[in-house]
Structures are given as C-alpha cells and as structure tokens.
Symmetry: D2
Subunit: 360 residues, 4 copies
C-alpha cells in the first residue's frame, strides 16, 4: 500500500503542502552509475513552474531543486535520491476569506470529510503544487531511460484541446510545442488560443484541456499482465494528476465507435522488421508494449477556483456563496503537460525494470 | 509488485488459461464473519458467462464456482477464499489455423515478444476468460460492502453506447438493464441495438461499446491521496479489463469542454444534509469520495478476432493474411458490464478498508 | 500489503485449511521458458510429507501436486502457476474433544480473538499443513535458480539440534542428511537421536529443534538495502514458518559474544579471486550477499499439541484441562527442513530478480 | 517492492548518507488529528544520538529534527510527515586512508559489488547514521499508539548482554535503563560493564550485545497470517538494523531446548479475565498477539571498524592490511536500543492499523 508513493521498482514518494516551508520527493530504486545533476532536473522544472506567462498562475516560484542524497561524484549510487524544493511565494492571507467555505468542484470538502482537519492555506496537500515533485522524479526517469534505451528514446506532450478550441493533430510539431505558452503542437492554433484564453480569464471563468503524450523508442514486451498492464498503470498514473477526469490509450474512447477492421492495426513485415499500418492501439496490446509509439491522452477539467460567484456551504453546513480571488491558472491543463510526461516516463521506466526482472 | 494480484487490503489473485483445465481466483483480506455461499457468487457469474444469447460468444460454460477454502459453517473466516471454475467447452483445434499467425489488434504478438512463448489455444492467459475470476471476486466484494454499508449500497452498470448506436442516459432504468441481453438501460434503444448488432456480426465484423457504472451508498472520505486516489485506482482497474482503451470519471473527457461554472458541482445544505446540485465529478473530488453517486465509464474497443480478412505477419516474420473463425463475441463490450461492476466493487471495498485503517 | 502472499517479484500465494477439500499455491512472477513438470516439484513434496517414518505425524497424505496453469508444452509461460494438493486423510472427529478448548502454546486462542470464529478441524488455516504449499513454491524457485545460476547452485538444510541433543556441525554431510529420518547431517548422532525422540514421544511430550540452511553458488550483490536486506527478508521468511521462535544469520546470536577481530571475516585475494578466511557473516554483509555460502538457522519450539495434560480455558472462559490426542509430530522441527529450504530458495530467487531489475 | 520504505499502512521512507548534507524520513499513512511536535520526537532522538558518553561514538550531532510537512496547527493532517536531520559533524578526511580498502565484516565490499560505486565517506548509506531516521519515525508511531491504546501502552528496550558480560533479567528495572549509559536494566551490572567496555575499547577491539524489547498494552488479535505474521514482521524489522545477526521472539532460540510442557504457556481464567502462567511465546501465537507483553530480542555483532590490524583486500583486489581509526562505537549494540524500540513500535502500529482494516 502506498498513499504518497508511486511506482513498483523505480518508486518516488512526495511530501509537502502548498504553503509549508518546502515540498520534496524521494526517488528510490534508481539504477546506479547514471550521470545526474540538478541541472538535468531543472530543465523540466522550468517547463512546469508558474509565473512564466500571463496564461498561468502568477505565483513566483523559482522551483529550484536541491539534491540532498543519492548522488556521489555526479553519479547515482543506487540509494534514495532526496530532492527539496522550497516554497518561496506563499500568500496564505489570500485564503483567509475562504477559510471556512468549500470551493465547489474542489477537494476542500472531501479532505475535510476524510481527515477531519482543514489546511486551507493554498489547498495544503491538495494543491497542484505537489506536481512539481513529480516533474523532478520524471526528469530522473527520463535520464535513466535515455541511458538504457539510447537516443531513440524521447517523450513529449502537447495540449490538443483548450476548452472549446481544438487543433489539428496532423500538424503536430515538437518544436512548436517548445515555443508557445500553451504547449500547443499546431502553430496555426496558437493565436486563436491566446485570444480565447484571455477572454476566459477576463470573464472570471476557467476552461479545461486535453493533453496528448507520445513516447518513442519504447521496446516491445513492457507491461505485466494482468493487473500491472502498461495501459492500466498509465491510466492510474495520469488519473492521479490533479483535475484529470478522463484517460485514453491510443484511440481511446473513440475506439468504441470504430469497426473491428478500422480499429485493429494491421501488420506488415519489411526487410525483417515488423511495422504496423496504423496505431489505434497507442502502442499497447493486451497491456504489453508492441514497439510502436506509445500514445495516451488525458482530460483536465476547468480550474475550480474561479472569481465568478458560486453557491456553496461552509464548515458549519450553512449555505453561502463563494468567489475565489488569488493567483490561479485559468486553465490548469496547460501546466499539466510536463506533469503528464513525468508520470508516463516513470511508468515506462518502471515497466522496463520490471520486465528486466522477470524476463531477463 | 503484483502481476496477477489486484487490490491493497482486499486483494484477489487470478490464474488460469482459456484452454487449461480450470481458472481460478484467491480472495485475500476478506473481513471475517460475512455470510457467503457459492450461490451468492453464482448470480454474478451467470450475468457474465458466454452462450446466453445470440449476441455473445457461443462457448458453453456453466461457470460454476467451487469454493475450496476460507468459509466455515457458511461464514468467511478471514483466511483466503479459493475459488475454482472449470473450463468445460474448450476447442483448441479451432486455433490450429492461427497457431503461428498474429491477430491484428490482439495480444498474440506482444505476449510472444515478451515471454518468447506462445499459448495459442484460445489466447491462453490473454483470453477474456480470465475475467470470470474477477466477477467471482467482485461478487464477494459486493457481499462485504452490503454487510458494512447496509441496504443503501448498490452498484449497477449499463451499456450506453453500442458501436455507433447511442442511447438516452436520461432513460436509465436499472430494471431494464436486467431484462435485455445488452445491459442497455434505455428500453427504447434495445430493438435498434438488436438489429444493429446482428448486422455487424453478419458482416463478419465487430463493434465497440461504452459502459457506465453507478454505485450508490458510498460514504464520503474514501480515497487515499496522492497515489491511491479513488479515481486513479478506478481508472487503473477499469483499464485492466481486456480491450478497454478509455476511462472517464463523471463527465470525464467531456469536462474538458465545460467552463468552470458549468463543471463544478455547487453545494447546498438542506435540513442539515449537504447536497450537490449536479454530479460532473462522478462523486470524487481530489481523489476522495464526496458522498455522491460514484460514476465511471469505460470504452471497449471492437473485438479483434473477426472473420473479415486482415493483413498480418506470422511467427517467422512473413507477411500473410488472417481470418478468425470460432466463437467470438461480436461486441466484447457487452459482457464487460458485470466485469466493470466487479472491478469497481473491489476498488470501493478496498478503499473502505483502507480508510478504516488510517482514519478509524 | 499481502496477508497470504510471499515475495516481491517471484511471489507465491497460498490458500487452504487442514481439513478442507484441498490446499494450494499460486506462483506468480516466474520467469518464462523454464522447463518444469509436476515431478520436479514432487521430489521436494515427498521430503516434507507426513507418515513417512515413526518420528513424524502418521497422517497419510500423498501430497500429489497438480499443476493447473502456467505451463505450456513443459515450460513455464510467465503466467501464474496454480498448484493444487488435495487433503486426503482428514479425521475432523479427532478434534471434537478440543473443539471449544484452547491448546496452550497454540494459535487456537489468537485466531479466535482476531477473527471471532474458530475452525477447530485440524487447526484450520493455522495448521502446518499450509507449509506443503510453500514447499511446492520453493521447488519451482530452485528450478529457476538452477536455470539462471547453473550447477554450482544448491541448497540444503539439516537439523543440528533435536531438543536437548546436539550434533557436531564439523561432521556435516549432505548425503547423510538424505539418509536418516531426522535430516541430521552428522551420522554419529542419528542412533542417539532415535532413542531420544522415541522416549520423548512415549512420555507424551514433545521437543524442539534447530535447523541450519546452507546455499551455495549465490552471487554477490543480492539484497536491497535498507528495508529489503537479504538477511532481513530471510529472517522474516523463516520466522513465518509455524512454531519458529528464533532466527540466526551466520554466527547469529553467538556473534554477540565475539570480539571484533574474531567476528569479522578477513579477506584474501588469490589468483584474482577474493576469498574470506571465515564465514561468521553467513555470506551477508550490510544486507547484501558477499559471494560466500549463505548460512541461516532457525529454532522451532516443541509441538504444542501433546498428550500430557495441561491447564487451559475454553471458549466460554472457564478453566479446564486439555490433553491432545491425534496424529501430531513429536518434533515439528524435523519436517521444517524442506520448508526452510523452500523459503530460503524463494527469498534468494526474489532477490536475484530484484537485483536484475535495479542493477541490470 | 520497497527498498528504502518500511511498513504497510504506517510507512516510512528514509534517505541520506552519513556525510551528505542531511538525512531524513517521510512518514506516510499516519492517522490524522494526532497532537505532534518536534519536541515529542526529539526525546527519542536524544537517546540514540552519538557523543553523549565515552562509551559511544564521539561524533557530535545535535540530531535536531525539523518537520517540513504533515502537521497543521500542532496536529497531524493525515498527509506525509517529512523530517529533516542535518549532518553537522562530518570528517570525510578520516576516511581517506581506507578509501580503497574494504573493512572486514563491513558492507564496504558488498555495496561496491552490488552498485559498482563506492561512497567511502563515513560508509555513505551503509552507515548506522541512517537509523536516526528510524528513531524519528518510531517516535511518531509511539505517539499514535498512545493515542489509540491509551496509557497502558508503553515500550522499552534494554541491553541484557554486553559482549561476554550478562546481567540478571529478573532485576529488570525500567528506571535503571534510563539512568545508565548502557541501557542496562540491572543496576548491579553497570559498574562491571563500565570496566569491561573501557578495556575493550582500550585494546583496540570491539564487542557485541543482545538487546531485549518489551511492549505492554498491546491488544490481542494483531498479526496477519500467514506472511504478515506479527513475529515474522518483527524479525524482519529487527534484522534490518545495522549489524544485527539474530532475532528471538519470547524464549526464542532457547525454546528449542524446552519440552512441550515447559514451553507452552498455560492459561487460567480469573474473574472473567484470561491470564497466561508464563510467557515463552513472547506474546505471539501463530503470528498473532495474545494480549500478553510482547517480547523480542536481537543480537548485534561487534563493530567491524576497529583499530586492531586486519587482513583485507583493496578495490584492485590486492592483499593489504587495514586499521580503522576514527570515531566508532566500541559496541554498536548500545545505541541500537532506541532503534529497536522504534522498529518494534512501527511494526505494532502497522499491525494495529491493518487489523482495523480487515477486522474492524
């Protein structure tokens, strides 16, 4: 059982609250002798951190990672890697007004019902601030995957739907994702999305998003049937990200609408190599990787902390209204991109190690 | 780590291949002193078993469960409950023609790549036959939930989309589900679905489905953040079912298209009881149950074993074609209903016990 | 969490009661493509089974193992191996007289306190009958270890203390162990032990034993600090055997009486190979194997089911006396030898696979 | 799987090396609403920390615990409690002379063989410094046990054997343990032990110890057969402590020498309460607590880092000699007392929560 630990062999444990002194992450089970520095991790941290554009939370955090253990002379030692990220820009007073009210659509209510205690300062442990720790763990997973698989391994995510605004997945461009503040893979959509999101924010509301993840270079054979299937573990991992309400593998929900012929990916052999003619499976069959690109997507609901007034109750069970001010993302889905990549990287590495254990 | 074991406290382990002598399931961690008989389990088994209508596989299995341990004088003892289900109607010769070919969209290929060995008889361990074991475990979970929660607990699933044919969820009727061979909750759709599925089968093809699950009576407070969230565990559980490619909690993927106001469920207090004005959350906020109805849905891809000829390769890597005859479901999604209920029941009970452990 | 499951990657789950229809074991995580038959397992089963000499229980069980899954064409497939062992010689009526009394030193009382239910027939799940399942799992572990490590791997256990009777460990002889009914490694002690144990039994009493286990061919590097140390896992495994009250690694408890110089095993290099001058460590340093012989021993308390009358209470809490007749071992420690070997084999294999996962 | 995590529901994960910037511990699964402060933890830390008498290591560490998460307004919130302990008195240069040599009886060699990397500074992760983290976790476990069980709960350990010097267990006195620097429960032995240990140290050698742990107030019914037995988990926990080579439950190894009558603890009922006439079982029968005092003991081998010269090899496999100077405990067993208490407290709490889960 593991409440705040993720993974089976490559495992990470996160701790910390939004407005405590720091948050952090322990990575355990990391293979030894992998070159690793704080800089390797910082790159991914910077992609997630708030305050970088006007489209995300204005909280100012440098999200600098300090490694406290597990590295000796620039290499992993096989012992736990402890990482610390300080909380620099806390404004707990912002939360005074909602101290005893529950935000509709927020975990305020359920945490209180479960634990009988409420840490109202920035959402406490419920806060998406926790995801910074995941990105740190994911950065290590990526380094290890690169070390084991080689250069052909890479993973990238993009926002393919921003609220009501879609984009053309056929225009997917990894470089474009790195350029715009929405992680949008389709250059043509960026301007439109910009206008749309500013309007959403201005109206005091918020919107959702769909993120797609793609991993290349993953060998076939990863995934442990029946209850540690690769897709099952990916679904659990992505659904554990704050505000996620749906997960697809490959064609996902859409596959329900396809015929057997349309859906099943035909195979061809060419000069000794087996190729699939399509990838509705998202690279996973029977819970085991097929050697194709691994594709998964997940839907993030709109931010529940919004300015527009909503009906709710307070801790005493009295009806009231709530309007949440403060520094919230108008679309939490945007910053979910590096988090999704991190979770997928951890799952893939975990399965690679698991497969090594059982199948040599 | 647990390849063929599901759950944390209430755990089950399944074993067995499609064409071996038997399959089975061990349930561990079951609370003691719960009244339980083979009949209690058989009811659910019968809802899943093949050969019951012309819309499912014609394999004839009585799916009779024998309890070999864990019950004394009609009550659970707290020790493992071992259940055996014999395979009665095996026709391994049906598989001779595809012995060395890989079915597109099937786990044939990936199992072979992973384990270097192929049990071609009915799919071996990949077969959905394994899910009979899950239904047996789920039946026990339901009995325990009824014992702990009382009569207000119930769980039911229905097919809300059959290939291209939808139904009106506003007409959801539990009794209707029990009557028609599609587990369809909307009486008005049944006739249409019947025609549609017969046409699909006749054409040598197959179709997918979407199943919705609803659980009532679940108390608030279940779910263990961050990495054993109730929705995360449900997503992993449902994605582990054969052929599932997508999972939604509450509004799921659709929530990405809603605004913050539309999506977040407002709360009202009435005579001391807190009620939500809607249920886009599917009864789960921040990974913890809110006391509302728990709602999840999942998409099942179309059966990959179809008569229509498909391009593929064989074990030697040579291009060939395949046409799969035999006794396959034209829509595996239909029989996934009791399996989904079983998995959700196990997850809910597991979280109830987990919550009891940490929060008393 | 795993109540009735043992292991991390190579895992087994046991089920069944002493007087139920059968007992059994599921082995999960077994590497694929290992040649395995029921005969390979039967050899070890026969070493443990009762009724073989006048020094053990006279219950007549053939302990024949039926493999129900996980093997195809004589090889493991990587999927769960289900093994069934029928209970043939049950005499539940033997237990009528103690049905409502608690045997001093027995788990009767604590099972009843924990579960609120009592399966008095032969001890139910508390019975050492469960250990037959462990021996089956251990036999598979040995086959896999032989397959991976090669011929230099072997494991053997011997009884080095039978009640008050010791033996000379310097006379340890593997062949002798296989010949006498006590698994005694020292030929000179056998006659004496025979007389001693007959006297113990005749007097209506019982005695304890100490068993030593030795494994050869184990490579260095197995063991995962800090909380999956090889010695820690061995200690937990051996202490889980019925009636075990103490565990030593290498010199064990005695090491407390040694000086730093006496205890620490000096090292010498000879033609490129490192040798230790002694083995007080039992082949484990810092929880990791050193490449030396792995040595562990464990103490089994005397059988608590004895004929001699003892003071106790009954289920109603009334003072009474108890005298246990039936077919009990005068020294349960003897048959613990193959069980100890089985548990050590499973731990060693598990750590070999774990090490493969993290360290390649 | 959990390399650096201990426990099932109440779990802790430790990280950090002897000469890194800090070490630490994350406690997960702690029940909410338990009053807890850094002071509550510090008391136990002070009992373990070095530099307190001339009989232990002279390393000067304040071992001050900083709580970074999981507490709000002085109470546990049910979320992970992160604790940080800085390393203040590192002298890595002390280790320059042994940088490339392996200390006989030390984990230097096996860590190098496993991970292919050597952190020679103070033993890195192998160092007993890690145990400070365990004491912090154990202090929290004790607070929770007191909160749930009430005042009748307490736990205390004492050194009952110091090298060749025993003591009289019949003189066991909890207050005496708190007074002398050896945690010796028998006042009469203290003076003798003092002389003995000074002589051992002066001779450049070291000695071992046996520690006994006693817990009162533990209810019956804790322990989950078969593979999470209370004694099995205790054995694993105690064997995981640095330098431990043997573990006893109750009479332990000695029980092998007793007859069935001597060993099994008879029961008597008096005014409705059941009492045992002795406690050879150490309060555990069939792996489940009986309601008696829980008693376990463990043997710690003599410190392997000694001044007296020893034969060994270096990293290049060349024969050499080693003499270890620095600040080492002449008997590491002494400071193992609070560590043993911590591990036992964690196991007991874990089983209490587990029992609550399954048995209500």
């Amino acid at each position: 059982m593991s409440f705040n630990t993720f993974g089976k062999i490559f495992r990470f444990t996160t701790w910390g609250e939004s407005h405590g002194p720091a948050i952090g992450c322990i990575v355990d089970g990391c293979p030894p002798n992998i070159t690793l520095s704080e800089n390797d991790i910082q790159k991914d941290m910077d992609r997630r951190r708030p305050g970088k554009s006007k489209f995300v939370s204005q909280r100012k955090e440098s999200d600098k990672v300090e490694i406290l253990s597990g590295i000796f002379n620039g290499k992993t030692t096989g012992t736990p890697i402890s990482m610390l990220i300080r909380n620099e820009d806390k404004r707990s007073r912002d939360y005074e007004s909602i101290k005893s009210k529950f935000r509709p659509g927020h975990a305020d209510y359920t945490y209180f019902k479960k634990y009988g205690i409420r840490d109202y300062r920035g959402g406490g442990r419920q806060s998406a601030r926790e995801t910074a720790s995941r990105v740190a763990a994911g950065a290590i997973a990526k380094m290890v995957l690169k070390n084991i698989i080689g250069k052909k391994f890479n993973i990238i995510g993009g926002v393919i739907q921003l609220g009501l605004m879609g984009c053309d997945r056929n225009n997917w461009n990894n470089n474009e994702i790195r350029k715009n503040p929405f992680f949008c893979p389709d250059k043509k959509s960026v301007k439109l999305w910009e206008k749309y999101l500013l309007a959403v924010r201005k109206s005091g509301s918020s919107c959702g998003a769909i993120i797609e993840l793609r991993a290349n270079g993953i060998p076939s054979g990863l995934g442990a049937p029946i209850y540690s299937k690769l897709d099952s573990d990916l679904a659990g991992a992505l659904m554990s990200i704050n505000a996620v309400k749906g997960v697809n593998i490959g064609s996902g929900i859409s596959s329900a609408y396809l015929s057997g012929e349309e859906n099943s990916d035909e195979m061809r052999s060419k000069s000794g190599k087996i190729k699939f003619k399509s990838n509705n499976a998202g690279g996973i069959l029977g819970g085991i990787s097929s050697g194709q690109q691994i594709i998964a997507s997940f839907a993030v609901k709109p931010t529940s902390s919004i300015i527009n007034s909503r009906e709710t109750v307070n801790k005493k069970g009295i009806n009231t209204k709530i309007s949440v001010r403060g520094r919230h993302d108008p679309c939490v889905g945007i910053r979910a991109v590096p988090i999704g990549e991190a979770m997928m990287s951890c799952v893939l590495l975990d399965h690679l190690l698991m497969n090594r254990a059982q199948c040599g």
